[in-house]
Amino acid sequence: MNRKFNFSSKFRSANIFSLFIFATSLIFILFKGLNYGIDFKGGTLIELRASNTNTSSIRSILTNMNLGDVSVKNFGKSSDYLIKVEQKQTNEENIIPQIKKKLTENLNTEINFRRVENVGPKVSAELLQSGILAISLSLAAMLFYIWIRFEWQFSLGSIIALFHDVVITLGIFSFLSLEINLSIIAAVLTIVGYSMNDTVVIYDRIRENLNKYNKLSISEIANLSINDTLARTIITSITTLLALLSIFILGGEILRGFSFAMILGVIIGTYSSIFVASPILKFFKVTYKTLEKEEEKIVP
């Protein structure tokens, strides 16, 4: 890969594009909201397998039970169904055996209850809280690590890029009304790790090149460094995406949301390392002197 791309000429339009997508994502998250699964909203989930039935007959049986908000949909195979019952205010504890009994009595076919989950309101609130805390903490930890290893400009730049990735990934989930559950939080955290990984590789090279060519502007340095590491960036993205696509297509219904979030995250994370994290250094007026100053401080 010897061709040089002129990334720096695209920085301005990329920044406008990023801002636009970021703002749109934020608007979606704030106004349309996120589609929380029972992990975070509380409620009951039942996955069942039954031939000779359909979503509408299951739905009509459950509607008669007066359970509140019930959703029934196909899940992967045509004979698999996913039922979700929203948390009701009234503390109805024995809702699961009731639903099971009602379905067994009324559907004239054999039912295999494959998965049953029930999350109470207290636990779901705690899970959401700890999910948000985990993501915030990981961002803070990254900020701190980069701050130690590089200078504060780099640390801030990488965090803005990470924020960009997390918000856009969640924005797309909001736009497509995809479910946010525990595994999506895991995916977001992994995206944070992956995107950081990508950014660090480019930053490392920027630092090296700043020392090597102190006549070049930061835009030129960024451009040079992105090109230097481009082959690696692309190859690693490809191998990671190959693994993720394999999970997405063959890993079954339960891992689909997780692998989709990861695929989005890898693409966005790769983009942001090049088009967000690197150009941002210009705004902080990073030059080779930025590095020197720090070194002087360390060696008095």
């Binding site: 109470g120 895991a186 590789v201």
Partner: protein
């Protein structure tokens, strides 16, 4: 960077083989275990039930504060403190007293304080009081007093939950404390947790109380099993604590399922006395505030053996006997979270997990071969070694593999080659300017080292945070991802580097291309 001393090589391969060999333990013959270590399957893969139970100590606190009424009154009288307007509120007591200083002195006395004991562990008294107005005070449990009640209730509950679950006979249950109020129960292989939930949902507080003719003071109205309204005395003759055994039986006369019980010595005495004194009266057997049955006392029962009948089915009798044997829970338990996976879904998950792992692995390997040829082969060897070590470490730790955990392994496969890609790309760059091939490889490794380390530490940080905050299956993901990073660093930096050095050093004068 390409020079390895013999001892270094020895250590590298020794570490690799020692760890990798553990991965084979997972394929041992079950009946003939050499070393009993293997990766455990999470509930989402083997099927089973996960329950999170929460104790509710509110009623317990209420009972405990009521229990303090008499000792406090006695204490006040003994010390000639005049009190009035003594009220029992929900979880507090309020009263008017005349001498605050004196009260304060005896209330917070560390020596032999029976009413308000000093808890050494927490350096705090069990109770505390607040001044509400000029002469009125409110007595309540201190923060640590509540904590003590809570802790002991939780410990006791765990013990009883364990007894009940063991009695049902599920295989390898896990019962653990989670936080200050919760009990985690994992029941592998259990398909339907309803029976266990029902058994754990009952406190099973059993007591024997006399039935009165009329609704005099100290009685309450309870509905009997055949919907008869009875006035039952609040005075407890004997409670379930005195039971040492209970078994389900079939009554020979009418073929009805019953529960026969055996009392300890103290219980037998109490029961004997009460039944002797009250022949002809009816005795209510009350379980969790509901009358199970209220038979007439025909003759004194002094043997310490008795029988409860009450229109049970045999299952109900069996469950009641089990509950009575295991003892009463100090507080009701609420199921706050439940996750059950059927065994066939678990099998499906394993299958799709393994297939996607295999396919992802093959795709990555083919891509690396295409991209880097001979060095791709090295990267792939490192990748296989990486997987073996990852599985080996999971085996040594006897970690629990979950479906997201398998996803973590696949992701490791995709990201593990990154270290080698970084190094190879760096060497490529060096080869452009550097004449000596060996030198180019050497600088490539040296320069890439920092980057590889930085890049992997960031992912490791994410994995550690995920491990700390994640629950159940997500924790499994964090484990495989985190260990994957460590094995990746090892294989890329030691194994792959050594293999590269063999290739480079043996083709000294020929053209080497990456």
């Amino acid at each position: 960077m390409l020079n390895f001393s013999k001892i270094n090589i020895l250590i590298i391969y020794l570490v690799f083989f020692t760890i990798a060999v553990f991965s084979s333990l997972n394929f041992q013959d079950k009946n003939n275990l050499l070393i009993d270590k293997k990766i455990n399957l999470g509930l989402d893969l083997q099927g089973g039930s996960y329950l999170l139970l929460e104790i509710n100590s509110d009623t317990l606190v209420k009972e405990k504060i009521q229990g303090k009424v008499i000792p406090i009154k006695k204490l006040l009288k003994e010390n000639n403190i005049v009190y009035s307007n003594f009220k029992i509120n929900n979880q507090t007591l309020s009263l008017n007293i005349d001498d605050f200083d004196k009260f304060d002195l005896i209330f917070y006395s560390k020596k032999d304080n029976q009413v308000n004991p000093y808890i050494d562990n927490y350096r705090s008294f069990e109770l505390e009081y607040k001044k509400i107005s000029n002469n009125q005070i409110e007595i309540l449990f201190s923060k640590f007093g509540l904590l003590t009640i809570n802790n002991s209730a939780l410990k006791q509950s765990i013990e009883i939950v364990r007894r009940r679950i063991d009695d049902v006979g599920t295989k390898e249950p896990t019962i653990l404390q989670r936080g200050e109020k919760r009990i985690l129960v994992e029941l592998p292989g259990l398909k339907d947790p309803e029976r266990i939930k029902t058994l754990l949902g009952k406190t099973a507080q059993l007591n024997f109380r006399l039935v009165s003719e009329n609704s005099e003071f100290g009685t309450e109205k309870l509905i009997s099993e055949n919907s008869e309204s009875l006035n039952v005395s609040k005075r407890i003759i004997m409670s379930g604590e005195n039971l040492i055994d209970a078994q389900p039986n079939i009554n020979n006369q009418n073929n009805e399922p019953t529960v026969s019980f055996t009392l300890d010595r103290l219980g037998a005495q109490k029961f004997g006395r009460a039944t002797t004194d009250n022949v002809g009266k009816r005795l209510a057997i009350v379980l969790d505030g509901e009358i199970v049955s209220a038979p007439s006392i025909n003759e004194p029962i002094t043997s310490g053996n008795g029988m409860i009948s009450g229109n049970f089915s045999f299952q109900e009798a069996t469950d009641l006997a089990l509950l009575l044997r295991s003892g009463a829970l100090p507080t009701p338990l609420l199921v706050v979270e439940e996750r059950t996976v059927g065994p066939d879904l678990g099998e499906d998950s394993i299958r799709s997990g393994v297939i996607s792992l295999f396919v992802g692995f093959v795709l990555v390997i083919l891509f690396m071969l295409y991209k880097y040829k001979i060095f791709g082969l090295i990267a792939n060897t490192a990748l296989i070694a990486n997987l073996l070590m990852l599985i080996g470490i999971l085996t040594i730790l006897e970690a629990t593999l979950t479906l997201p955990g398998i996803a973590g392994i696949i992701l490791t496969v995709g990201m593990a080659v990154d270290a080698n890609v970084l190094i190879f790309e760096r060497i490529k760059e060096e080869l452009k300017t550097e004449k000596s091939i060996i030198h180019a490889f050497d600088t490539g490794y040296t320069k890439a080292k920092i980057t590889v380390l930085d890049a992997n530490i960031t992912t490791l940080i994410a994995a550690i945070i995920l491990f700390a905050f994640g629950s159940g299956p997500v924790k499994g993901f964090a484990i495989t991802l985190g260990i994957g990073i460590i094995t990746t660093l090892f294989t890329a930096y030691f194994l792959a580097r050594h293999l590269t050095s063999i290739v480079v050093l043996n083709t000294k004068n020929k053209e080497i291309r990456i």
